[in-house]
Symmetry: C3
Subunit: 153 residues, 3 copies
């Protein structure tokens, strides 16, 4: 669970749109094989925690390596994933940082093999503003079909 401050504020439509657009382009990059573009969406020292991973990934390089391994495994069986961010809630933390929560569906397709819902997750991100857009500083993924992540020591 991310350490974020809960705020009741309604985010402005403009900031919400900026964040939504970040996700649309970030996920499209990862799904379509632009893995450099996807990795650029994380800060150098980003952490990525998931109850689907044996341990947290620490740093952009580790996140990038794990993503490439997953992408290669999918490509090997001809599968494509689409990460669909829905129900996005944005809570400003300070001028250059927001906490987000969303439901992310991952849809898997195999040519001539149809499409199916692969996993349902709750995504909690901490995003920070950079000169050229937003980056993920911390990501916490909870798959609904797996037990909750154990507390990290």
């Amino acid at each position: 669970m991310p350490e974020t401050v809960s705020t009741p504020a309604v985010v402005s439509a403009d900031l919400y749109q900026e964040i939504h657009q970040f996700y649309a382009r970030h996920m499209y990059a990862g799904d379509s094989g632009d893995l450099d573009g996807w990795a650029a969406g994380f800060t150098e020292d980003a952490v990525f925690v998931s109850n689907g991973l044996p341990e947290p990934l620490e740093g952009r390089a580790a996140i990038d390596a794990a993503t490439r391994a997953g992408h290669a495994a999918r490509a090997g069986r001809g599968a494509v994933h689409r990460h669909i961010v829905t129900m996005l809630d944005v809570r400003p933390q300070d001028a250059d940082s927001v906490a987000t929560r969303s439901y992310v569906l991952v849809v898997e397709s195999v040519p001539e093999g149809g499409s199916k819902l692969h996993v349902s997750t709750v995504l909690e991100d901490r995003l920070v503003r950079a000169d050229d857009g937003w980056r993920v500083a911390g990501r916490w993924v909870s798959r609904d079909d797996l037990p909750a992540a154990p507390a990290t020591s």
Copy 2:
């Protein structure tokens, strides 16, 4: 079918964002077991009509009771639901009231049992503004896999 006035107006981005945020937090509350928070999203005299229910629910207390029964039944078999509001269309009715229509997917997950699309629905709500946000005054749910609701007498 809700009795609403159809208006061609384009809703402002700020109002749209307010309504979208209401749904993100309302559905998250219900899905994650904050049933008090979920019930607080309805007015005292709200009505809830669905072709998946034997009869309309009248009043927040009746809606709350039905929700708790459904949640307990799911918890008993370890299932989690995610209500995913998509294609949200917002039509202002007057300064303090909007009609909405959306497609809502309900995704069901069972730990170690995977995730699947449970139902596809069309949701039509009438929302009214309160001091601390929006509340549902009327909800009409039409599940796509069931016959249309009979007219209520």
Copy 3:
């Protein structure tokens, strides 16, 4: 693949909301059987290209005819489709034209037969502004479960 100019600009929240609303009403019209309303969402000379079609559809009349045939086939077996536009990215091309990209899920329901994910697609549209709203001038659909469209000669 549509011939569009890629621009890094962040679209305004108001324009984004206009486009999102267009899709909500356009798809609802088609899904709910208002096929005149759906056809009116295309320009007279619109093109519709899909790797799920044997050849591109050229002009609103051809798009309308193909849509009616598909709708009649679904109605014949009692099926309803919902086109769910997600992860919408809007890139202004000029004052009266935008390029969009989204993930579109098509969910199919059959009364008493449940609901399932039918197809997962990437949708790329070119929209142009008309007096009374937006219209599709060009649509490129890529189903994730089919091979990429061959280049058209």
